[in-house]
């Protein structure tokens, strides 16, 4: 390398170093701000769902990504509604049409309900066999007589007993093709035997890789037996 080339390399090395230092500084500062969001001041919490209490005209419920808030003065002031385990980002709040004290809240991670207008909540459990893989929850609708419908990306979940038991509604529910696709997916990924089935899949994949590699090596090297002939 000539002195001129070395000088050129050194100059580019310095420039890249300076760019890297600026980048590291940016990463460090933004990292500090991310770790301490309060330094940026209180952020506005986005409203993701809204519902009026049919029993009390000035009472509103507001869903956010953090949980549920309630207003008793027609939306002028809001306070957090005590809820031990909010179901993720709130998607929909709905009061039962024939039983206004019964309210349901659908969140990104599940469904909760209250029988007292939203004071004491309880999680609604879904059977794993019905919701595997976990679908994306999209919307909630309530009918009379305890009928609850939850729209998911896999179809409509229906309950006729206030969410005690569930089934897939015949409309928009996974059909045979979907079930077959799911079974094929499980077979393909190894999940047909649970997480432990992955081990078998990995070993089989390793066997195939070794077989392919050794086959290629054998193909590349002329056989001694053939060579003798």
């Amino acid at each position: 390398m000539t002195p001129r080339e070395r000088h050129l390399w050194a100059r580019w090395h310095r420039r890249l170093g300076a760019a890297g230092a600026v980048f590291m500084l940016l990463i460090a500062i933004t990292g500090l701000l991310l770790a301490h969001p309060r330094w940026l001041g209180p952020g506005e919490i986005e409203t993701t769902a809204l519902a009026a209490d049919p029993d009390r005209s000035a009472r509103w419920l507001r869903g956010t990504e953090l949980g549920l808030e309630v207003s008793e003065d027609d939306g002028r002031t809001w306070r957090e509604a005590p809820m031990l385990a909010p179901p993720g980002t709130i998607i929909r709040i709905a009061f039962a049409p024939d039983e206004p004290s019964r309210v349901y809240v659908l969140g990104s991670d599940g469904l909760v309900s209250a029988e007292d207008g939203g004071r004491i909540w309880a999680a609604i459990a879904w059977p794993e066999s019905l919701l595997t893989p976990w679908p994306e929850l999209r919307d909630l609708a309530l009918g009379t007589g305890g009928r609850v419908r939850v729209l998911t990306d896999a179809g409509i979940l229906a309950s006729a007993d206030h969410g005690v038991s569930w089934r897939w509604s015949s409309v928009g529910s996974p059909g045979n093709a979907d079930r077959l696709r799911d079974a094929i997916h499980r077979l393909h990924t190894g999940y047909w035997l649970g997480e432990s089935g992955l081990l078998i899949n990995d070993l089989m994949a390793l066997v195939l890789v070794i077989l392919t590699a050794s086959g290629l090596v054998m193909l590349a090297r002329p056989s001694r037996r053939n060579g003798r002939r």
Partner: protein
């Protein structure tokens, strides 16, 4: 040479496959594998038995005893109002411990619903009404068991019933185990409230 190597490798792979299949079959019957429950497969992983968990949280204790508390309807209503959540337990068991007559606090074994299955864990609360330790005892779902790690559970140390104890507030959820993180967080908050209600004079309020 290559043929011999390939054959040896294949033999090893077949051996691994057979061992793997046997292991899968065996774990299906054990505590750490796939078992059937009425609503689907259950990946039950037992990390601590009750005895092991108590021995860990009360390692210094020379005396251990349990107290059962059945809240009155009024107490239950008060507890539910504080939590904004229905309390389904009829009664609560408090594991107490002492060393040379000195109170070491209480530990409560509780269950909180994950996505589908309950997570069983122990919350130890010190005499200052603050969380000392949280231990995941039984995890039943196929994924999200990262919440058993102290990297996540250490966040609860020092929290008391007046703290929010909420994900995205004072607790950072575990990515990939959002729901389990939320369940553990809710369970810790519930235990703190229950302990405060049961031992208002002995723990915290008297300090």
């Amino acid at each position: 040479m290559i043929l011999r190597l390939t054959a040896t490798a294949l033999r090893a792979m077949v051996l691994c496959l057979v061992t793997g299949t046997l292991a899968v079959a065996a774990t299906g019957r054990g505590d750490d594998g796939l078992t059937e429950s009425p609503d689907g497969p259950e990946h039950v992983k037992v990390y601590y038995s009750e005895e092991d968990a108590l021995a860990k949280v009360f390692a210094e204790a020379d005396s251990l005893w349990s107290e059962v508390w059945t809240p009155t309807p009024g107490e239950r209503e008060d507890l539910e109002s504080r939590l904004g959540w229905r309390v389904s337990e009829e009664s609560f068991v408090f594991h107490r411990a002492s060393r040379r007559g000195q109170d070491l606090g209480t530990a409560v074994i509780t269950e909180e619903l994950g996505r589908f299955k309950p997570i069983t864990f122990m919350v130890q609360v010190g005499t200052d009404a603050e969380v000392r330790m949280v231990l995941v005892m039984v995890y039943r779902e196929s994924r999200g068991d990262g919440v058993k790690r102290q990297r996540f559970l250490k966040q609860f140390r020092g929290k008391d019933a007046d703290d929010p104890v909420r994900i995205n507030r004072d607790i950072v959820g575990l990515s990939g185990a959002t729901l389990s993180s939320r369940s553990i967080t809710a369970g810790v908050k519930r235990v703190l409230e229950v302990v405060r209600m049961r031992y208002p004079a002995e723990l915290g309020d008297s300090q």
